[in-house]
């Protein structure tokens, strides 16, 4: 290997990683939310027998949905890598916040995959599990996926700080997305209350801790994905690696360069 050989930026791979953001949010919406009947999720106050029956009735869709989610969830990591690379263009190569963002996105995948694995196992083993065991495992998955929120919070905070520091006349990621990130983090904190409530807004299925905290995060993921895809195209143009028209053709008409 020639150590003096320049390393050209692989924009194609970068764009591919950026597009894994939409793969994540569309995949989870369809497989976790719709197919596995988690809109709304089964309430924390549901009796053990009813939980068992829920999994018995929905064994096949939950099995398929959770299996796919365990795979699709990894896209959050690759999306985080794409975000991190964009952040480096603002923060510089030695920036710590870009590292925090990527690590945060990667670790966020861990509780997601573990929780989905537990829900999958309940569905697979429903005929040999007691209702109490189903209830315990169901709670376990929710505690793991919800209470790991601080890792995701660090990811979001890091991205928000860096993109707010963007000195471009038209920043790569608009300020409102960054501030929405802070809103998302603020909405996460009450999630700490889920171990204490089985009813009301602070239960894991409750008005606040499900219907506000998750959609708020979801809006952040969707909006950040859109602007990261655009940002990679803009950076490619800034670098002079492609003409604007070529980039537009490559990206299609849905999300093109600004």
């Amino acid at each position: 290997m020639n150590p003096t050989q320049p390393n050209p930026t692989d924009y194609g791979m970068w764009k591919l990683m950026a597009w894994t953001g939409p793969v994540f949010f569309i995949g989870f919406f369809c497989m976790w939310g719709l197919l596995a009947s988690n809109f709304p999720p089964m309430a924390a106050s549901t009796s053990a027998q009813d939980m068992w029956q829920h999994y018995k009735d929905l064994q096949t869709p939950i099995t398929i949905g959770m299996s796919v989610c365990m795979v699709v969830g990894s896209c959050y990591m690759t999306f985080g890598a794409a975000v991190s690379r964009v952040m480096r263009r603002i923060e510089g190569g030695e920036g710590m916040l870009a590292n925090i963002e990527m690590t945060g996105a990667t670790i966020t995948y861990c509780p997601i995959v573990i929780a989905c694995g537990i829900w999958l196992t309940i569905a697979l083993q429903i005929d040999v599990l007691s209702p109490e065991m189903v209830q315990t495992m169901y709670y376990l998955a929710w505690m793991i996926v919800d209470l790991a929120y601080m890792v995701t919070s660090w990811q979001i905070i890091a991205a928000a700080i860096v993109f707010l520091r963007d000195k471009r006349e038209k920043p790569l990621v608009p300020a409102w997305v960054c501030w929405w990130g802070f809103v998302t983090v603020a909405s996460f904190f009450p999630v700490s209350l889920i171990p204490f409530f089985k009813t009301g807004p602070f239960a894991f299925h409750g008005m606040f801790n499900f219907w506000i905290a998750f959609p708020t995060w979801y809006i952040w993921i969707v909006s950040m994905s859109v602007f990261i895809i655009k940002a990679v195209n803009r950076i490619e143009i800034e670098d002079g690696a492609a003409s604007p028209s070529a980039v537009r053709e490559q990206s299609g008409s849905l999300i093109g360069a600004r």
Partner: protein, 192 residues
């Protein structure tokens, strides 16, 4: 015919993003307030009995503390606007100390409840009481950290009439914290 009516210069204080945060945060609290009222309608007798165990003096003192703190922050912004640089850190420090006083008052209040065996698990009223005031307290703690950072910046002379955006943004947040308490206090302590 050309007329040139006097156009009043209107400017949104602080950065626009902080208003996104403030509005969204207030919507979150709005949802919680509605949830509280729904439960209150369902369990009126229980909520009324439990409400009487709260000491409105604590709530009243905390209201005064936060209003004073907000006023001090307004004075700090005004001082920056008038380039009275030396006054800014003193006002911010006083505002931050008010925030700490609020936290101490809340700790005493929580301590009394816990010592009496009252926890968030006791009933739905206390669940709301501890959760709503706890989330609000987190906002106060965040605000105190912010005011400490502003105080340090002000000591270095970083705020003046040309550099006020950050200070105004922080003041907007701090007023929101104050405003939320003004809703929380009657909702939890006074509403019959």
């Amino acid at each position: 015919m050309s007329t040139s009516p006097a156009v009043a210069t209107r400017r949104l204080p602080g950065v626009e993003g902080v208003w996104v945060f403030v509005l969204a945060d207030m919507c979150f609290f709005g949802v919680l307030f509605v949830s509280f009222m729904q439960e209150r309608i369902k369990q009126g007798a229980l909520f009324e009995t439990a409400r009487h165990t709260l000491n409105p003096d604590f709530g009243g003192i905390n209201t005064l503390i936060l209003l004073t703190s907000s006023w001090l922050v307004v004075l700090a912004v005004d001082a920056a606007n008038r380039d009275r640089i030396a006054a800014i850190p003193k006002l911010l420090l006083a505002a931050m100390l008010c925030g700490i006083a609020f936290g101490i008052s809340k700790a005493i209040e929580y301590g009394g409840k816990l010592a009496a065996g009252i926890t968030p698990m006791s009933n739905d009223f206390y669940m709301f009481y501890f959760s709503l005031t706890g989330i609000h307290l987190l906002h106060v703690i965040g605000g105190c950290v912010m005011l400490t950072v502003f105080w340090l910046k002000a000591r270095r002379g970083e705020f003046d009439s040309r550099n006020m955006k950050v200070l105004e943004s922080g003041a907007t947040y701090w007023h929101m914290v104050d405003l939320l308490w003004i809703f929380l206090f009657p909702l939890l302590y006074l509403l019959r």
